[in-house]
């Protein structure tokens, strides 16, 4: 109950504005470069310029939904077969794990699916070839040329294939060793593989056997003894996660899953660039019209609401970059729509204010009353929007609701829009009004000290 509260809130707003400006503005404007902070939270490096993530429809690229044919896979293994497929295809499309490619599995009823997004992919056909290949696993013998001196390490000279392949492997699983409970991977070979494996281990006692998946080495255990019963264990300094990852890969070789394309979308990059330019032009014109309308209709109050609206845009963009929200074209439309809706709480309050003035109240009392009384409507009305927003967003990925990325993008921008607009429309505008808004009718112009409701 003192003069300091609106000031405190104003300082908070100022602080948020500066932070948002720092995030939103490019690191360099013309010759002037903004000094960077040396600060990091998790993966967020504030020292670098944070980029706005663009969706596939803006950047261009390839989206494929694959259906895995699981008819030969026993029910219990289906989930792990899908995981193995994901790991496997992920390695093929992005061997170094550096691109922004997205891979997601989805189970819908009895359908096991893999959703693949490759932003910026310019040769979809080539990519499809890589993706659609069936996993091929083989056991090979690494060859070394001896080093020149005894201490020199032997030089790797290539693999020699053997007749043992993934077809001979029945399954792999994580086990824990009986002595020290350390994780290991156990292999069970089919009848066809048992003798081949026995022969291989007999001939290569004390040497490594390399397991290759699609030509890439996934493990090179050293043979400790001849194994005749077709049951082997790979031990080593595994963590449980590593052992699990290896068994998933081995199963991918043992249980290769054929895939078929059920949906595909190639988007040329030029299309998105053109659309985004148009949307931004449309957005600026729309914003200008909203501001013009607010000032024309509500005068000084409208001007302050427009300041709140500009801050709304600024905070929203900053959050998009921080979270990050992948911006798609429907997402941009959602953002622009939310700009139109953001002034709603202002309009509710201003209309209320004019009613209170008409009822003969002093403008300062009217202002405080207007904010208090409009809050009920604002709260009830926005809850309804959040309910539908959540249904569109489907945050728990319920299989009976939509899971499409573009719809989710739109919903997320809509929900964020509501929360930020409540902040700018109520708290920010209220403080700006308290600080700068004066009616001529008032005789003295001291700051409002009555904060009965904030």
């Amino acid at each position: 109950m003192s003069i300091s509260k609106p000031l405190k809130v104003s300082l908070l707003i100022l602080f948020l504005t500066i932070i948002s400006l720092y995030i939103v503005l490019p690191a360099k404007i013309g010759n002037f470069s903004i000094p960077r902070l040396n600060y990091q939270i998790g993966n967020l490096d504030f020292g670098k310029e944070i980029e706005l993530k663009q969706g596939l429809d803006i950047k261009g690229g390839l989206q494929v939904i694959l259906m895995a044919d699981m008819k030969d896979i026993p029910d219990v293994d289906k989930a792990s077969a899908l995981e193995a497929l994901k790991t496997n295809i992920g390695r093929r499309i992005d061997p170094l794990g550096v691109s922004e490619s997205g891979l997601k599995t989805a189970v819908s009823g009895n359908d096991y699916r893999l959703i693949i997004e490759l932003p910026g992919e310019t040769d979809p056909q080539e990519a499809l070839k890589r993706i659609g290949r069936i996993a091929k696993m083989e056991f090979a013998l690494p060859q070394f040329t001896p080093g020149k001196t005894a201490t020199d390490a032997a030089e790797f000279a290539g693999f020699i294939s053997t007749d043992l392949t993934g077809d001979d492997l029945k399954s792999a699983s994580v086990t824990f060793e009986s002595q020290d409970r350390s994780p290991a991977v156990s292999l069970i070979f089919k009848d066809s593989g048992r003798d081949k494996f026995a022969k291989l281990t007999k001939e290569n006692l004390g040497k490594p056997i390399t397991i290759l998946l699609d030509g890439v080495e996934i493990s090179s255990p050293v043979v400790q003894s001849e194994i005749i019963d077709g049951q082997a264990q790979i031990t080593g300094k595994f963590t449980t996660e590593e052992a699990k990852a290896l068994s998933v890969q081995l199963n991918a070789g043992a249980l290769p899953v054929p895939v078929s394309i059920i949906s595909q979308k190639n988007i040329p990059a030029t299309l998105g660039a053109d659309s985004i330019q148009k949307s931004l032009t449309a957005g600026s014109i729309g914003l200008f019209m909203v501001i013009f309308f607010m000032i024309a209709y509500y005068g000084k109050m409208g001007f302050i609401a427009s300041l709140g609206l500009i801050l709304y845009g600024l905070y929203t963009l900053a959050l998009y970059k921080l979270i990050p929200v992948v911006l798609s074209l429907p997402g941009i439309a959602g953002f622009l729509l939310s700009v139109g809706m953001a002034v709603d709480s202002n309009i509710l309050v201003f209309e209320r204010y004019q009613e209170e003035i008409r009822a003969g109240r002093d403008w300062r009392v009217a202002l405080e009353l207007a904010f208090g009384r409009a809050w009920d409507s604002i709260k009830d009305a926005n809850t309804a929007t959040i309910i539908t927003g959540l249904i569109l967003l489907n945050p728990l990925d319920w299989p009976f609701l939509n899971t499409s990325g573009s719809v989710k993008g739109f919903a997320l921008t809509l929900i964020l829009g509501i929360f930020i607009s409540l902040f700018t429309g109520i708290i920010v505008t209220r403080n700006l009004l308290r600080l700068f808004f004066r009616e001529r009718t008032s005789k003295n112009s001291e700051l409002i000290t009555n904060n009965s409701s904030t």
Binding site: D57, M67, S108, D111, P124, Q125, L128, I261, I262, S263, Q264, K265, N266, P268, L271, S275, I276, K278, S279, A282, G283, I285, G286, M289, V290, M294, P330, A333, L336, L337, V339, G340, M341, V343, D344, I347, L348, E351, R373, D376, S377, D380, A381, T383, A384, T385, I387, T388, G389, I391, L392, F400, L401, N402, S404, S406, V407, F410, A411, L414
Partner: protein
């Protein structure tokens, strides 16, 4: 002003808008995009031979020409794989040496069915939740039911007008349209709640006044807010519809139609429905 004097007129206006749309919906249905039906849409550029001859080479897949420029065309057909498209393009290369595939989208029929099912689920869940929420917030079932009825009114307008647009202009219903419909559900309710909220507030203040004049007063007091808020949204959507990209053009139009009907219905459907509900329940009480 006594707005509630002209109740039949408001329902007549609604009927005049809704009935042609519903007729079209029953008679012609929607023009569904491949997201719902399954199929393939592709764009070819640098074509030199006539679009008819290019269409001919796709004849095994029952192609439909969607649009054609001087050296490009977009067609829609049954599901084809990109490999098969490439084979067809190779055979066209003698007459069209530069022909290239730019946009390509293919969706299996099963996925389309699933999308339809999920869409219906979302609409049903949204309606039930909103009904429950409003009934709870206003502590009376009649508010919930009347608000949801007004919401259905807006949905009917939107669905009807897109059925007409589909029949006469070939506008398609896609996943974005569904998003627009759900957004309009929430906008419709949002606007209605502001009116109902005022009714609730006034009913606490003056208990002696009749329900009709109470509603009338609430409508009068919220009219300016409702119009002004809708105007700001309409400014944005109009700009987006007229100047925004092709991808979101009909999405903006759907939102625009929804915003206009949503604004109309909160004052001229949702509020009058309350009065009618009130009259019916009073009649029952008299017996």
């Amino acid at each position: 002003m006594n707005w509630m004097k002209y109740l039949p007129l408001y329902f007549l206006i609604s009927a005049l808008v809704i009935i042609p749309g519903l007729y079209s919906l029953v008679r012609f249905g929607f023009k569904l995009s491949i997201e719902f039906t399954g199929g393939t849409r592709l764009t070819l550029v640098s074509t030199t031979s006539s679009s008819a001859s290019i269409m001919e080479s796709f004849k095994d897949y029952s192609p439909l020409l969607e649009s054609a420029g001087d050296h490009s065309l977009t067609l829609k057909s049954k599901e084809i794989s990109q490999e098969k498209v490439q084979n067809i393009l190779d055979s066209l290369k003698t007459d069209n040496p530069e022909i290239t595939l730019t946009e390509f989208e293919t969706i299996g029929p099963a996925l389309g069915q699933e999308t339809i099912r999920k869409t219906i689920n979302a609409l049903v869940i949204a309606s039930v939740l909103l009904l429950a929420y409003i009934s709870f917030a206003f502590k009376q079932l009649k508010y919930g039911i009347c608000a949801v009825l007004a919401m259905f009114h807006d949905t009917a307008v939107l669905l009807g007008s897109f059925s007409l647009l589909g029949h006469f202009l070939g506008v398609e219903i896609d996943l974005l349209f569904v998003t627009a419909v759900l957004t309009i559900l929430s906008f419709s309710v949002h606007d209605t709640i502001v009116v109902y909220d005022r009714i609730r507030e006034l009913s606490h203040k003056n208990k002696a006044v009749s329900y009709t004049s109470l509603v009338n007063q609430a409508v009068t007091e919220t009219m300016a807010r409702s119009l002004n808020n809708s105007l700001t949204i309409i400014f944005m959507l109009l700009a987006l519809f007229l100047m925004g990209g092709e991808t979101t053009k009909y999405f903006s139009l759907a939102l625009l139609i929804g915003t206009i009907t949503g604004t109309y219905s909160s004052t001229f459907t949702a509020a009058p429905l309350l009065i009618i509900w009130d009259k019916f329940s009073q009649r029952k009480n008299l017996r």
